[in-house]
Amino acid sequence: MIKTVNLTKVYRSDEVETTALNEVNIEIKEGEFVSVMGPSGCGKSTLLNVLGMIDSPTAGDYLFNGQEVGRLSESKRSDVRKHNLGFVFQSFNLIDELTVFENVELPMLYTKVPSAERKTRVNELLEGMNIMHRRNHFPQQLSGGQQQRVAVARAVVNKPRLILADEPTGNLDSSNGDEVMKILSELNSTGTTILMVTHSQYCAEFGNRIIRMLDGKVVVENVVKQYL
């Protein structure tokens, strides 16, 4: 599903040049649950952003489903994103002015899903995530765990093939963190590919494979459990 060849990302400011990704070569197959670990500043979030097509590489190739997407224009990347990818962030990134229901519904507005179907899908997801009773609340009225469940619901509502999660449990306590990880595992078990950045070894082990990074490079790849 994902293949990178010498993927490089360099950030330049007036005086400083920082290489966030240094010729990264990785491959992720459909249905995998891959965790990316490493110390702060090692480039794991940059890797997630480039693979999630919200940032573009400076050099190298990025093939998504066999198609080179690294050098696509923003509007084309946006098109690929909305039909194939779902995002879960550490800080939830819900829109404060929208209710739980509306936040989850929003991606379907951009993919022009009919109204009735949107309603059915949102309700099913909220039921599944056990937050149906909060459907008309605004994000500020929810706990962190609940907000992250809404974020996960929003990430999967368009049935993406790949979910990119950037430290999804980073702002949660352990019980809420566990819950989110279980949801991600369940999603993976239904065939959704997951790429997750985390600092937590515990969380990383929910995946099939762990990629460890240092100074913008992949240094080790561990298989946690056999991908079937």
Partner: protein, 785 residues
């Protein structure tokens, strides 16, 4: 999607009530003023547009050439011109003459009416669109004893019966048969009258109309369809000179469509001024005010960029493309503009009566008229376009990652643009206020300037019956018996509204090829004493000098023109008739101060129109009652009427006062809008720099230093605006002042005082808000951050 956009826009407005209020109220003020001035401008363009044949209807003007190079453009034309136009100009379908408006007293049994009307040729109702509700427009003025009256007059004189076919008496004249009742004249008409009498009647009573040498009536032509104006004007040039009809004159045509707005002719050419200048000026001011309010919207919205960036990022990450985001931000602009339009329109309808009273206007805005809705829609769309487009473009242009990770930094160009917009706002405000001040100073100057005679307690009392004119010497004696009456004289016109002039005056030594225009004033005995004119040499007209009916008094301008250093005892000639100069008065103003003082000749005229009474009293009501009683004993058929001379003088500056009142209103509005803009920007700046404030305070900054931090930028911007606004305001004020022959010198200190005032206002606005943050506990700022 639209519903979602509307929902989120509404919630955003509701959640951030302070900013939303500033946004909406600021736009509403701009919209209200834009609509108000648009309505006024629309009304100005509507004047005279109701005539169905307006495209072919023209007024004849005459350029009179004088030997000193002066070219006088007048609407008064020779009486015989009408006939010649119809006979010798094949492109003229019809020509009609009209007189000036003349006041007459009507009586029908116990009903009376005093009103103004005109004499007009019998084609009048075919050329102009003044529809008759009763009577035949083709024959209504065909006989000398016919009269057409307005519906208003018919209601007064014939309250319960049909007017047509009945007779009505003009007091001291004769009876006329009503042959038509016309619908009341629309307010948007430059011709305003309540009756029309046949011109042939007027002609029969005024023989001077038969000759080419005198100008009096207005002449109008209706051209045949398809006629080229240039063809007609070319023929007109030779027409007037043919057979020595009039030598040094030329005729030209002005469309009735231009009659109201394009009135300023100087030296025979349209000089680009007139009412249209005021229309343009107010149009520009309204547009500037509207732009200031849109600038507020733009700068406040772009200032909020950092707050909105995260949302934009999230939307982009989950699939929104640029078009969807532009749509969303436009929806917000539409919602805000719509609310602003609602509030602005309500505000307008609320303030309109006050505005009309304050400016003595009669603007009507009907919510049922098509034009109102076209205006509202245009302003609405313009608001969305100006206020909505730039913010939508800016907000939707972030990269998703930059926005979502809060690594967003405002582009220097956006900050620069916002600064430019704010500087622009203050430039307009400073220029407007300084310009208003100059206008105000000039009006003060006009009202306070010594005009050369005592107009404070000088009364003009019209003589309405010929009998009274004959009994004037006895009336004068009776008037002088009233204790508060100091002096009495009479004149054929009002001294500060002189209308008569002649080029028929000569003097010894005058080169024969020259002709000069003199203002002529038909006065009476004790005229200098009564009016308070300043006698430089010689004496006043006096009943003790019987020969004074052949003598004249001149002003300094006349003495100068004739080259007479010691004019007393010299003679000048009215045609062949000699007149001795017995007095020289200092120059005095006979018209508005817009015009230069002209050479004037005062003579004793038996044809009296006004009794002049100089009163010396604080008890004006009692004096007026005594005067009324005395007058009524001589002309009981007419209501007592009077006007103070300074009242007449004051009427000249109605237009300037209107300009000044509008300018004051818009200056306040501009300042208010700038204040709202600065307030909004300060609120955002405070929110954005909350952490910085906390840190600075922890490190020891005082409240004053914190306030200074926010004031520095605005100080620079107002300073820059001052330097841009000053030359602009100076230039336009000077242009405006050039309309006046007598004007103030613009004082330099007006500009720094205005600049300083605006700066203090801005600083006060900032301080009031930033002081709250400056005195708050630093930990609260840091915790919030």
């Amino acid at each position: 999607m639209l519903l979602n956009n509307l929902k989120i826009s509404w919630r955003r407005l509701w959640l951030d009530k302070t900013t939303s209020s500033i946004h909406i109220f600021s736009l509403a003020l701009g919209i209200a003023s834009c609509l108000l001035i648009s309505a006024w401008i629309f009304q100005q363009f509507q004047v005279d547009s109701f005539h169905e044949k307006e495209d072919r209807l023209f007024q004849v003007w005459e350029n009179q050439y004088y030997s000193d190079g002066t070219i006088l453009s007048v609407r008064a034309t020779p009486g015989p011109l009408k006939k010649v136009l119809e006979e010798e100009m094949p492109n003229v379908a019809k020509a009609v003459r009209t007189t000036w408006e003349i006041e007459k007293e009507f009586r029908k049994e116990q009903h009376t009416a005093t009103t103004y009307g005109i004499y007009a040729d019998d084609g009048f109702f075919q050329v102009f669109t003044f529809p008759l509700s009763e009577g035949d427009a083709n024959t209504a003025l065909s006989k000398p004893d016919h009269i057409v009256i307005s519906q208003k007059m018919a209601d007064q004189l014939f309250p319960d019966e049909t007017a047509v076919g009945q007779s009505v008496e003009i007091i001291n004249e004769q009876s006329y048969t009503v042959t038509g009742v016309m619908k009341n004249i629309p307010k948007a008409s430059t011709l305003y009258f309540d009756y029309v009498l046949p011109f042939k009647k007027f002609e029969s009573e005024n023989e001077w109309l038969l000759g080419w040498q005198n100008n009096g009536p207005n002449t109008w032509v209706l051209l045949k369809k398809g006629t080229l104006l240039t063809d007609v004007e070319n023929k007109l040039t030779t027409l007037i000179k043919k057979d020595s009809r009039q030598k040094n004159t030329e005729l030209f045509l002005q469309s009735i469509k231009d009659r109201y707005l394009y009135t300023n002719y100087e030296n025979g050419q349209y000089a680009g001024g007139g009412r249209i200048e005021k229309v343009r000026l107010f149009g520009v001011i309204a547009l500037l005010i509207f732009l200031i309010s849109c600038i507020n919207f733009i700068s406040l919205t772009t200032a909020r960029v950092s707050k909105r960036a995260k949302e934009v990022g999230i939307r982009k990450v989950i699939g929104a493309n640029k078009r969807a985001l532009v749509g969303q931000f436009f929806t917000e602009a539409i919602l805000i503009s719509f609310l602003a339009l609602l509030i602005g329109t309500s505000l307008l309808l609320f303030i309109l009566p006050y505005f009309n009273t304050y400016t003595n206007s009669s603007i009507v805005i009907s919510m049922y008229s098509q034009e109102t809705w076209i205006g509202l829609t245009s302003v609405f769309l313009l608001t969305i376009l100006i206020a909505g487009s730039y913010p939508s473009f800016v907000l939707s242009s972030f990269g998703p990652l930059t926005a979502i990770t809060n690594r967003f930094k405002q582009k220097t160009s956006q900050g620069l643009l916002r600064n430019i917009l704010v500087v622009g706002q203050f430039t307009v405000a400073i220029a407007l206020i300084a310009g208003t001040w100059v206008v105000f100073q000039q009006i003060q100057f006009l009202q306070q300037k010594e005009i050369g005679f005592n107009q404070q307690q000088l009364l003009y009392i019209p003589i309405k019956s010929p009998e009274l004119a004959q009994k004037y010497p006895v009336l004068k004696e009776d008037l002088l018996k009233i204790p508060s009456v100091q002096s009495v004289s009479a004149c054929n016109q009002k001294l500060n509204d002189i209308r008569y002039n002649t080029s028929g005056i000569t003097w010894k030594g005058m080169p024969p090829e020259e002709d000069h225009l003199f203002t002529t004033i038909g006065a009476n005995f004790d005229f200098v004493k009564t009016t308070g004119l300043s006698l430089k040499e010689g004496r006043d007209f006096s009943i003790a000098h019987r020969a004074d009916s052949m003598n004249v008094i001149i002003n300094e301008a006349a003495a100068k023109l004739m080259g007479m250093d010691a004019p007393i005892g010299e003679s000048l000639y009215f045609g062949e008739e000699p007149a001795q100069i017995i007095g020289l008065v200092k120059d005095f103003h006979m018209y508005s101060l817009k015009y230069e003082i002209t050479p004037a000749v005062l003579y004793v005229d038996p044809d009296l129109s006004y009794v002049y009474v100089q009163v010396a009293t604080d008890d004006i009501p009692n004096t007026l009652a005594n005067l009324e009683q005395t007058f009524n004993s001589y002309q009981s058929n007419f209501p007592f009427d009077y006007q103070f001379a300074d009242e007449k003088y004051s009427q000249y500056y109605q237009s300037e006062r209107f300009t000044s009142q509008i300018a004051i209103l818009f200056s306040i509005l501009a300042l208010l809008l700038c204040g709202l803009g600065v307030l909004g920007l300060t609120i955002f700046s405070l929110e954005r720099r909350l952490k910085e404030i906390g840190i600075r305070k922890v490190l020891g900054a005082s409240a004053g230093q914190i306030v200074g931090l926010f004031s520095k930028n605005i100080l620079q911007m107002v300073g820059l605006a001052f330097f841009i606004a000053t030359p602009i305001a100076y230039y336009f004020s000077q242009q405006w002042l050039e309309d006046f022959a007598y004007r103030i010198e613009i004082t330099w200190w007006v500009f720094p005082v205005v600049g300083l005032g605006v700066l203090l206002f801005a600083l006060l606005t900032i301080s009031l808000h930033s002081l709250k943050a400056a005195v708050a506990s630093p930990i609260s700022s840091l915790r919030k951050e």
